[in-house]
């Protein structure tokens, strides 16, 4: 099934024409409503009238996560708050969150995009779907929720954290679909196996996202649960989940490109690369009102394929992600930057600024251990003091990341000091296939 055949199966010429018309409108809208963009465009000598078609997008300046941070909280909003009906936020590279705002129309388009994605996975109004992403500032829960509701499915807003309740309800409600992170679903499959419930579930589809996953994980989820699993992609700055999703042919993720124009950029020159070549993914939000972004650099590495897909859709597809251009980690679906840990530790006098993050996956759940060095000055002969310090640091990290971490205090001088770029992360998970 295709949710919106008109938009998802347009000819390439029609799509280009639509994108061009929308870009022209967007540039004019942003120039007049967002001071930051007006100044940015003026600084490179571009006026709204200079952008005549989607090809002219290459002359427009990029937007980065830092721009959002620098304009915290509402500096990049194009409408007054009276027109904003929802706020979401994700972690920034330092203490400040990345804040996004949605108008009523933005939420409608978001639900439309998620509806397209879930339909791609097979979800219909007859399905019972458990949404097991976190509900809150994170876009996962409410984003998936609104899309599933738009389709007319029976939505069960589980949120995260209670696997036992989730598996019980999965059986009792006869849930046929689930939306959650892929690692959480693998964990759920284990819980189901332990409870002997695997043959009692009616699950057919899983729409998984918010973290990268490999083909191996994909196959494992499908075989363990005897379901079909689909990859949904999105990021809060651009919208949230639903920017792209893969179809039953799994030849890359179809981008809702009438709303989000994708570019893949050469990492060094930042010029668009040819289709099929790998580079950094950037999006221009063609229809967003609340916080529209031009050429927003996602830092995700992928390639584009604009050839029509066997499923009948003609929308551009992005390949499974090949990595990141920055040091962002996704832990239990939460975006984490090592710089956040660094900033948090500055607040703690008792430890040195040296730290090491060890990320692993145990029983399909991500674990984060943060090793810190005791400062010589605070050396103690009392276990109690070290334990209190461990708790204090864990709290500080929890506050900074919104994620619990296991803190391990290590011997002074034991963490590696390097001359050049220090290595602060050991990620033992295998998230990308190379």
């Amino acid at each position: 099934m295709i949710w919106n055949e008109t938009k998802e199966c347009m000819s390439r010429d029609q799509m280009t024409a639509l994108q061009s018309a929308r870009l022209v409108k967007l540039v004019d809208y942003m120039y007049h409503n967002v001071e930051f963009y007006r100044k940015k465009m003026q600084s490179v000598g571009i006026m709204p009238g200079d952008v005549k078609s989607i090809e002219d997008i290459v002359n427009l300046p990029f937007t980065t996560k830092d721009d959002l941070r620098d304009n915290y909280p509402f500096g990049l909003f194009a409408v007054p708050n009276s027109q904003i009906v929802r706020i979401h936020a994700s972690s920034g590279t330092t203490g400040k969150a990345t804040v996004v705002g949605y108008t009523r129309k933005d939420l409608d388009i978001w639900a439309e995009c998620v509806a397209r994605c879930m339909t791609m996975a097979g979800v219909t109004k007859d399905d019972v779907i458990q949404i097991a992403y976190g509900y809150g500032l994170f876009t996962g829960g409410l984003g998936a929720h609104d899309g599933a509701q738009k389709i007319g499915a029976t939505v069960v807003p589980m949120s995260t954290g209670n696997s036992k309740k989730l598996t019980t309800m999965m059986v009792d409600f006869g849930a046929t679909a689930i939306a959650c992170t892929p690692s959480y679903l693998l964990h759920i499959s284990e819980v189901l196996a332990e409870e002997g419930l695997l043959d009692q579930i009616k699950l057919k589809y899983a729409i998984c996202g918010a973290e990268p996953w490999t083909e191996k994980m994909h196959k494992e989820i499908e075989s363990r649960l005897n379901i079909k699993a689909f990859d949904i992609y999105g990021l809060s700055e651009v919208m949230g989940p639903g920017v792209a999703c893969d179809c039953e042919y799994h030849r890359g993720l179809h981008v809702c490109e009438d709303h989000f124009y994708p570019e893949v950029l050469n990492s060094a020159t930042l010029s668009p690369v040819a289709d099929g070549e790998t580079g950094e993914l950037a999006f221009t939000t063609l229809t967003k009102e609340g916080i529209p972004l031009i050429r927003y650099r996602t830092k995700d590495l992928t390639s584009l394929d604009r050839t029509p897909c066997e499923c009948g859709r003609t929308s551009a597809r992005i390949s499974r992600f090949k990595g990141r251009v920055d040091d962002m980690l996704i832990i239990r679906g939460v975006n984490v930057f090592p710089s956040q840990i660094e900033a948090a530790l500055v607040e703690v006098d008792e430890v040195t600024p040296h730290y090491m993050m060890i990320v692993d996956r145990v029983n399909n759940l991500d674990t984060l251990e943060v090793q810190v060095e005791l400062d010589q000055k605070y050396y103690t002969d009392e276990v109690r003091k070290i334990e209190a310090l461990t708790k204090k640091i864990a709290h500080v990290i929890q506050q900074a990341l919104g994620l619990s971490a296991k803190v391990k205090i290590v011997e002074p001088q034991s963490l590696v000091r390097s001359q050049g770029k220090a290595v602060h992360v050991i990620d033992n998970r295998k998230l990308y296939e190379n």
């Binding site: 010589q376 050396y379 103690t380 009392e382 461990t390 011997e411 001088q413």
Partner: protein
Amino acid sequence: MFAKQLTVFIENRTGRLSEVLGVLKDHNINILSLSLADTTEFGLLRLIVNNAAQGKEALTENGFSSLLSDVSIIQIPHKSGSLRELLKVIDENGVNIEYMYGLSIESDSAYVVLKASDVEKVDKILTENGVRTISCEELANL
């Protein structure tokens, strides 16, 4: 009188404890008593040695951080219940005992190493009660 205790923070990794002890042995530091307070993640090795300052220096040279802290080494009087009496007095003075461990330096007498929340106050209490404590100098001559 206080004595100096040498504390070494060690991660629970194989061989770490023996490395510390090895360094001390190589520098002819004599260990009179030790206590290892350990958790699943780390251990605090507390040592009474004949020369704590030299011990610290040797450890520093070999890449181990350590701490010198004041503790009371108390001779336990040869009377049943005397340690208990002593602890009661310390308690009544509102001083907390952080930890305690045994020390054997003379064959006919027992000693304990005591670390209190207020070391000076404890020292005063001990003196007032006529309890014999051991100094760094005495340790060095053992």
